[in-house]
Symmetry: C3
Subunit: 277 residues, 3 copies
């Protein structure tokens, strides 16, 4: 697992509230339990005990086990049930960067969480017949997932060619607010790793994200992104952008921080330490 | 602990609902903490973090510690307090088989959970002054338990003679729905391990259970049972039966499944994988 | 962590209820997770999963993670955020003894919990911008803490001189019921370790505590205290006192018990076993 703690600033422009500067922290204990049959099939489960502490933002006391994801895996083939990862969430290019200490709103995730995904603090698709199949062979990766949440069925296909990864994903669902389809391309230009992603998010509008990561020293990188959302409403019809840095302190510890102008109009910033254990 | 996951079918005849086929899973993390004094007395605690995920059947998110059982043990003598095991629950012959992946209703438990027992997801007798004493010497085993739940006092005596185990248990309680007394006999006929059990469950009626386990290969066994319940009401005045298989896959993993006609009229079936970690 | 279990008696004079004798138990699993950067800064987190089981006193089922305390430490300097320890709680002399199995009411803590403190079952100052700085160098220790709970700012300075430790602490807060200032002196007279502590607890009155610990054998000690509280109300305008013993059983196990006349008028007693794991 990991721990992280630091300071978070939010000008709260989107809600016309006062700006706030607060301590932010997360503690995540990850439990990966596995067993291997004589035939080499690995059976396992992943669950987390996680707690987020943010002034006025979370009830900080107590955090249970989240929903559990179970799997059976052999070779490049894996079946998962429960709190599944989800095909769109797992698709290359959906998390091209990791802004600051906390993600700072994740505007750079093109499909905008409009599909099944592993929930770290809730049940996800556990209890909703979550089921997924993953397959990879060489440069090819395929992932199909389904659940009773909005009767979603989603999938992606990704292929890596000369260091560039191209992925296309689609989803069928009962909800007009769920993602329809999404595509991404990512690779390296030498000085930077660059990702371009697009998603048709139904009534959530279309989102285009361009993101890049630059190494600026032996232990430091800088990440930037621009995310444009266009839909028929004004609230989410805007452009957001952000910049951050990550500095490796060694021993699994790092100093991280960033500043983001969110699509909803808020300016948020954070800085702090993350340590793995 | 262990994880298990698979598919469960229920025709829901008892509630005249539609039949259902769902993913079922359980994750159990067991914590056994002990310390030993210089005089050789072992003090310890057992607690579990457990989560069951079944579509529409359980709120899948979050599972706390259950009630804790504490004990002090020396030689064949043990005192337990808190979320106690319970004498009737621990009596030989009450769990003669372990149907399918999930137990499939546990109709084959003669005392029908009408007494104190270790609760994996709740408090059990913790907080109700649960207290028990266990003693074993050679072929003799004695277990007495008590709690403020219905002011129960229960006990059993078991003796093993030439490979056959005979046990008699009784209970005094404030509730007419609690078990009055129960008896069991179990042993091996060579090709099968057989158990016969009876319980007078007060207003819950009388239950007779006959169960057997057959080894049908180096790594496979088959279990069968018949359970008859007779009381003054129609609902639980019926006979249930079931059959299952368990196939060892090695490395602490197994494939398990079964079909049961429950006493309440439902036909249920399950199949899946269990792995220990 | 540790487990403890035993019997607790309370005559319940303060509530004019019947006296009660019940099983009492606690299970505490402590998680200390740390990582060290290449420059030698240690980052870490402390959290607990704890459960108290007492008849009619606690809902025994289920205990979550408490609020998490995060820290960064280098040399004698430490910064903590979240569920902070709190300066007054950490000040030498506030916990001069540890009565019986359960603390038996902690009347001997002069500042009377009227300040920020690490909460084992709740959030403490996590989510309330809890922040603290600790510094120690040789015989000097300094601790300053602050949180949004009552806008508390508290601190203490302690100095050890020839085996005696003197400490003075103060607090500024929005609540008239919070501690104003407190002082303590503690050391050894050879046959006994003695502590004298005083606190001005605002509307909670003044409290003076005198406590001592005597070694009465290779593995046994006896503790005594007198605590006097004087305020303008009758309810807490009284004197309490207590005596206990702790007998080391080896291997991290001990037998403990005590009898206390509380300031509120109750007479309480406990006895049981504690084991560390």
């Amino acid at each position: 697992g990991y721990g992280r703690f630091g300071i978070m600033y939010n000008d709260n422009d989107s809600t016309t509230g006062d700006s706030s500067t607060d301590v932010t922290s997360r503690f995540r204990l990850q439990i990966d339990a596995t067993a291997e049959s004589d035939a080499g099939v690995v059976f396992g489960a992943r669950t987390r005990i996680q707690q987020n502490n943010t002034d006025n933002g979370n009830d900080p006391a107590g955090s249970d086990l989240n929903g559990v994801r179970f799997f059976a895996r052999t070779g490049g083939f894996e079946v998962g049930v429960g709190n599944i990862f989800g095909a769109l969430e797992s698709m290359p290019g959906q998390y091209p960067v990791d802004m600051g200490l906390t993600g700072l709103g994740y505007d750079y995730t093109a499909f905008n969480d409009r599909g099944d995904q592993y929930s770290s603090s809730g049940s996800g698709a556990a209890g909703a017949n979550g089921l997924e199949v993953l397959y990879s062979a060489g440069d090819l990766a395929v992932h199909v997932s389904a659940s009773d949440d909005n009767d979603r069925v989603a999938g992606y296909v990704a292929y890596t060619w000369s260091g560039w990864t191209f992925a296309v994903g689609g989803q069928d669902s009962d909800s007009a607010a769920d993602t329809e389809w999404t595509a991404s391309a990512g690779g390296s230009f030498g000085i930077a790793d660059v990702t371009l992603a697009y998603a048709d998010n139904g009534t959530g509008g279309d989102r285009v994200v361009l993101a890049a990561r630059f190494d600026v020293g032996a232990a430091t990188d800088v990440e930037v992104y621009v995310a444009d959302n266009s839909d028929s409403t004004d609230s989410a019809n805007d452009t957001g952008y952000g910049v951050d840095f990550n500095h490796d302190l060694g021993g699994g510890t790092s100093l991280r921080g960033g500043v983001v102008k969110q699509i909803d109009g808020d300016t948020v910033a954070d800085m702090g330490v993350r340590f793995n254990f």
